[in-house]
Symmetry: C2
Subunit: 242 residues, 2 copies
Amino acid sequence: MAVKRATEVAAVKALVFDVFGTVVDWRSGIIREGQALGAIKGIKPDWEAFADAWRGMYQPAMSEVREGRRPFTKLDVLHRESLDALIQKFGITGLSEEETDAFNRAWHRLDPWPDSVPGLTRLHVKYPLAPCSNGNVALLMNMARRARLPWDAILGAEPARAFKPTAESYLRTVDMLGLQPPRVMLVAAHADDLKAAAGQGLRTGYVHRPFEQGPKAKPPEDTSGFDVVAKDMVELAELLGC
Amino acid sequence: MAVKRATEVAAVKALVFDVFGTVVDWRSGIIREGQALGAIKGIKPDWEAFADAWRGMYQPAMSEVREGRRPFTKLDVLHRESLDALIQKFGITGLSEEETDAFNRAWHRLDPWPDSVPGLTRLHVKYPLAPCSNGNVALLMNMARRARLPWDAILGAEPARAFKPTAESYLRTVDMLGLQPPRVMLVAAHADDLKAAAGQGLRTGYVHRPFEQGPKAKPPEDTSGFDVVAKDMVELAELLGC
């Protein structure tokens, strides 16, 4: 793995991060929370399929907002709408409103990948760090307190009132940092997110997360256009001189 | 000092803070930065008067936005406009654009009162903490990194796109925390800020900062209506069981 554009990377003053899949392992976390709920309620749906289906409804739900058919809506609300539909689809019964709400907040309790906190903690000494995630502020803040993610601010879709990958989601985040786009690097495990950010002038750091979608590794992405490519967050810190 | 409404205070789930005057000592900080700049440039204006004049232009500048005559504008920009006027008024010459910009960022480098970090660090174990300040995100984030203020998120005027004491400034901050107003306490050294927050249903914590306006203590305010009154941030932590 390598720094591909050293001059551009040396000018970076702050790092912003995709979160779901890049910093935290959403799939294992949702499966774990589902299994814990199932053990209490005596139900055994296929929690792996449930987790994949829940995440599968994520992009379509945001599209309503991105395409202007719906005003900006917090991800907690979109997650809850998807959850209500999936509870029906998977034939789950007997959940109280309180239990359903608590399960919806499973997204607030996702665990970081093992290298995330060590890597971020090193990066934090040199750079201000913030999420640039589609998660809402409370979700990201609760997650960070539980997992000890060293964010300096909680930025992204809710403060920007725009979901990624719209231009506004990146540009308003950069503006809140008081910087110009070439001074900010987006770190993500998703090529499409990084390409959209690069289109707005941000620098790009790709982190490999082959097992985001489960134990069968996802197909490799073309990372040749990104400024830095790292195998994990600790290597990213090393490559950035932290 | 005392907790006046124990039941209401026990229901609080997050604390938000006024910053200028409550967490940091803006007056000493601006005077110190002015003196440092003056030493380099060989100029000796009355930096105490300069600091008071700069802060004196703060409310009128925000009024333009609050009253709808101007779109939301970051405090860094308002500070700079005031600074440009004061440089003229105090007859200061010979500052480059770079020096003027650096002096404008003196507000990013204010020191906390001596009890602020110890008190916030204790409060942070129990409560999520965020500024609810008229400062912009970059200002508050840079200040927090320098002073090691343990914020979980940077909230307030810029994410809310509304200056205190408008209703929106408090209500959008509470909404981003994912809470209802009675679950959030505003901590401030200014009775008018707390009264406006209480008017929107927030809980209130008054912290005495008698020397905010200089060595001659400011007149005491009527604190009888607030939920908690503390002599400093460490006592606030004690009163809240931290």
